[in-house]
Amino acid sequence: MTDSARSTSDAATAPGAGDFAARGHRISKVYGSGDARVIALDGVTVGIPRGRFTAVMGPSGSGKSTLMHCMAGLDAVSEGEVFIGDTELTSLRDKQLTRLRRDKIGFIFQAFNLVPTLTALENITLPMDIAGRRPDPAWLDRVIDTVGLRPRLKHRPSELSGGQQQRVACARALASRPEIIFADEPTGNLDSRSGAEVLSFLRDSVREMGQTIVMVTHDPSAAAYADQVLFLTDGQIVDTMQQPTAERVLERMKGFELPGVGAR
């Protein structure tokens, strides 16, 4: 486990690492100053392998959400470099970052994923509509069928169940074929059955469509759907686990001996 963690880190440091969809090099994130200074990320170096499903786990306050926000260009790092593909993010202006998010990144949030005034289909094509691009109809059909939403396309979000809403969000993230999808606790608000549906869908999209997905979660059974798990504590990656199972993840988490694991 420790070996593979090192190998991931080393690979990320190597220039021109083509098999990573996203990389972070010694990224730090510090909030506040003086006594109120909080170090959320402490020199993290990480690579997200292309075409795989990566879960980021850690107790509350471990910096996992911050890591995702920084990697996705939603938040600026205090130090270090972040790459999406070959693009370095820290030097980009807001306009370029917005364009990058629009064209190269897909998002799935825990809640409030959809624009309430738009139908399910309009929500799915929204990033492409904003960009003024036409979606690839064949791909769109495939995505819609995969998430099983065809009969619900004309519905507004308020007419869909929580699970269906998350599936629309997944479809939206996939529809523009982004370089990478960031999912922030995508099942946090769902019951276990709907959650399982969404997670298997994410796993399938990696296996069948070759999508790259990073998912932040605190739920070991959610992490079990991933190909690899990164463990984060105190702003640092402390471990990596390949082909995780819920039991192994839970066992590993207990090792951190921190209160409030699993709570948010």
Partner: protein, 835 residues
């Protein structure tokens, strides 16, 4: 009491929603400022005039004057002159001290630059008088005028005109320009821009009235009180004259000004009321939004045991606080507004503060805020406690059906009331028309949410096409809460409806006058005075002798009483008048003779007159003459309703003055006009007008009127614009997470700002379309009601209305600036993170 913790909730909410409440308070401030400004300004003017009349009448115990036989209804109008012989009689009465005969008339001062000092007919008085040595004028330089050719000026006018004691000065009186010498200047105190030219008494009589006559005789007392002295003086007076006490004279003067100022005050308050009405929409809307956003919090309060009435009271408490703060600031702003009004009307000095504006500011500000917040407060109380536990909470909405029924009913009732006022011959039509308009506005505002769906679809279409996704989102957002969109748009609707109505009316007036000039103006030129003086008959001969002129005739006008009612008549060179106005005879002819009379069709019908009817006419000199109707002419705007012979007019008028000279020429070309202008070159207070000039003049007058009313209505549009800002700002806050989501998945700041701007423009244009529609209907109805009064052409100023639509769109863009900026600055992370 349990109200203490609720009061704490109220206070905390006030401080938590500062910006939103500041915007609400702005609506209150502007409305209250209008009310307070009007009240303070008119109070100040009243006080000033009171002081002035007290000053003028300070030493007057008794005033002797001619009786007004025919009261023209205008208290400022001149009385018939008083024979000089009365002065000798008054002097013999024991107790009378220093009786002085005064002469008042028109005298304008020509400055060194050849221009008249003052503004002519529409400005402060251009007063000519005799120097009496008492009264309000105090000599500051030089000496009193002692002979013809000498004058004293008030020192401000003298310095404005550029004259010093010893300078030759030109003064214009009815008879023409007078070259005189300035022998002294006097201080007359604050007379609000009046120019004063004082001659010695005989010269004043000759130039301003008639030799041997006074306007009035004023006197002090050696001991007896005013009433006793008045009775003594009255005994020696000839018939047709009267004596009044100084107290009565001062009261008469004051009340005539007070009644004018009272009218002016009411007029301004109507516009203030409109602003407040618009403000009420904004307040209602803001409180509705605040309540909607706080649903969960209110539910929590209910769940932990707050009673409905406590929730209502907490919201009302906020309204009271907003109203109080708004009223206080509005009062201060009103004082500033009054100061501004005073300086634009050329006055200075301290403002007069009474309790009235203070009381009204607070009453209006607080009552309007509380009444507007009452319905949202009631809705707040209806939030079920269980809403605290639910995720997506919505306030119970009353059905649209009740709203539609109520809205339609109000609109129809309002239209009916307006119809009654306009066409129903009621004694005071302004009341039903105003109340009707009010009801129509409320009714349409109630219907607006229903109308908004299709309207926003259509108005949003170009944005959806042009801006694509942001445009589509904007349109959806405007449709999202139809009530909110409608209330915001309705506020803008009111101001624009009234502005449109005024413009339709103004445009109809212009067209009507132009068509009247085309149809009824048969002469080539008219010559008119620009001052208050009128012209002397000598000028007519001079004009007639001008090269290119074929004929010139005078037209006078006078007042008389016919069967107990005051009437205004025209008189003069009848043939020239009739041909110059293209008069058409229905019966009889225009041949008058000495005691003939011509009447127009309407007057003939109303008084059942026909050719040959005898009409006894009482003239201002107290004599009655029976005249015979010799012709009935078709309604003519230039001639008015009655024409008498020139000799009849002159026989009964002490001081005749020509109102207009009607000129016909061989050829109405530039050369003739130039020749006429040469003839009149010494008279800068006279102007020559051809047809085009008459039209241009009328247009200018109407434009002035339209602009004045539009400016008064702009305040309500500004308040409505604040409402748009408020709605958008609150909507942006409400949609924080949605905006965060949009930003995260790739909408740019620019697209986001465009989206909010588009929503704003759609709402503003929706309000403008409603307003302009209603305004055109109102304007057309008014024009139809006034068609008998000469407003016979309906004209809709399409260009102007399109401009207003564009202005509304610009207001939309401007109103969105701040909310859009805020939305763009929103922290994406904060926006998307769950609580």
């Amino acid at each position: 009491m349990t109200s203490v913790p609720m009061a704490r909730v109220t206070l905390r909410n006030l401080s938590a929603h500062k910006i939103r409440l500041v915007l609400t308070a702005v609506a209150v401030i502007l409305g209250v400022a209008f009310v307070a400004g009007t009240l303070v300004f008119t109070d100040t003017m009243n006080k000033k005039f009171d002081d002035l009349f007290n000053r003028i009448g300070k030493n007057v115990a008794v005033d002797v004057r001619a009786v007004k036989v025919v009261d023209s209804g205008d208290p400022g109008s001149a009385r018939p002159p008083l024979p000089q012989s009365v002065l000798a009689k008054v002097r013999t009465v024991p107790g009378v001290k220093d009786p002085v005969g005064t002469v008042d008339g028109y005298a304008a001062l020509v400055g060194k630059d050849g221009k008249i000092v003052g503004k002519g007919q529409n400005g402060p008085p251009q007063l000519g008088t005799n120097w009496t040595g008492d009264g309000i004028a105090r000599m500051v330089a030089g000496r009193a005028p002692a002979a013809a050719g000498e004058v004293v000026l008030d020192k401000e006018s003298a310095s404005k005109a550029g004259y010093a004691v010893g300078d030759p000065v030109t003064v214009l009186v009815k008879a023409g320009p007078q070259k005189v010498t300035l022998v002294g200047t006097a201080d007359i105190g604050d007379m609000m821009g009046t120019t004063l030219v004082a001659f010695d008494t005989p010269t004043a009589q000759r130039l301003l009235m008639k030799p041997g006559y006074f306007s009035e005789i004023r006197m002090g007392t050696t001991g007896p009180d005013e009433a006793a002295l008045r009775d003594r003086v009255a005994k020696v007076l000839p018939s047709g004259t009267e004596a009044v006490t100084g107290a009565k004279l001062r009261d008469e003067n004051k009340s005539s000004v007070a009644s004018f100022l009272g009218f002016f005050r009411t007029f301004l308050l109507v516009f203030a009321l409109i602003s407040i009405f618009v403000g009420a929409f904004i307040i209602f809307n803001t409180f509705s939004m605040l309540v909607a956003q706080r649903t969960r919090e209110l539910a929590l309060l209910r769940a932990i045991g707050a009673a409905r009435s406590q929730v209502t009271r907490a919201v009302i408490g906020e309204a009271v606080a907003v109203g109080f703060v708004g009223s206080t600031l509005g009062l201060a702003a009103g004082a500033g507004l009054a100061e501004l009004l005073q300086s634009t009307t050329g006055g200075g000095g301290a403002l007069t503060f009474t309790a009235t504006p203070v009381i009204w500011s607070y009453v209006v500000g607080i009552v309007v805020t509380v009444v507007s917040a009452y319905f949202p407060a009631r809705r707040a109380a209806k939030v079920p406690p269980v809403a605290a536990m639910r995720d997506d909470v919505a306030l119970p909405q009353r059905s649209m059906r009740i709203r539609m029924a109520l809205g339609s009913l109000l609109t129809l009732a309002g239209a009916g009331l307006m119809g009654l006022g306009l066409f129903g011959h009621v004694s005071n039509p302004a009341v039903p028309v105003g109340a009707g308009a009010f009801a129509v506005f409320l009714g349409v505002a109630l219907l607006a949410p229903v109308i908004s769906r299709p309207a926003v679809q259509v108005l949003g279409w170009p944005f959806a096409r042009l801006l694509r996704t942001p445009g589509r989102l904007a349109r959806q957002n405007a449709l999202r809460n139809p009530r909110r969109t409608a209330a915001t748009a309705s506020a803008l609707m009111i101001g624009l409806a009234l502005i449109t109505a005024v413009n339709v009316l103004g445009s109809s007036m212009r067209s009507s006058v132009e068509s009247q000039v085309d149809k009824q103006f048969g002469a080539d030129y008219v010559i008119e005075p620009t001052g208050a003086g009128g012209l002397s008959s000598d000028l007519v001969a001079k004009v007639r002798a001008t090269g290119g002129v074929t004929d010139a005739g005078a037209m006078y006008s006078g007042d008389a009483k016919v069967s107990g009612k005051r009437v205004r008549y025209a008189a003069g060179d009848t043939p020239q008048m009739l041909s110059g106005t293209r008069a058409k005879f229905v019966s009889g002819s225009g041949t008058l003779g000495r005691d003939g009379m011509l009447v127009d069709e309407d007057t003939a019908k109303k008084n059942s007159l026909s050719v040959g009817s005898s009409v006894p006419v009482l003239f201002p000199d107290g004599r009655t003459e029976t005249l015979r109707v010799s012709g009935v002419y078709a309604k003519n705007e230039f001639l008015g309703s009655r024409i008498l012979s020139q000799s009849a007019y002159l026989a009964h008028t002490a001081d005749p003055s020509v109102e207009v000279i009607i000129v016909t020429a061989h050829k109405a070309d530039a050369a003739t006009k130039h020749a006429l202008e040469q003839t009149l070159s010494a008279r800068p207070d006279v102007k020559v007008q051809d047809q085009a000039g008459l039209k241009a003049d009328a247009r200018k007058q109407v434009d002035g009127f339209v602009t004045f009313l539009t400016v008064l209505l702009v305040m309500s549009v500004i308040i409505a614009a604040v409402g748009v800002i408020n709605t958008l700002a609150l909507s942006v806050i409400e949609r924080t997470r949605e905006i965060g989501l949009l930003r995260a998945i790739g909408i740019s700041r620019r697209q986001l700002r465009r989206m909010i701007r588009a929503e704003s423009v759609v709402i503003a244009v929706f309000g403008a379309v409603l307003g302009i529609g209603i305004g055109v209907a109102f304007g057309a109805a008014l024009q139809h009601a006034l068609r008998k009064e000469g407003l016979n052409v309906l004209s809709v100023p399409v260009g102007t209305l399109v401009t207003y639509l564009v202005v509304a769109a610009v207001i939309g863009v401007l109103a969105a600036l701040w909310p859009a900026w805020r939305a763009g600055r929103m922290d994406v992370l904060k926006a998307i993170s769950t609580d």
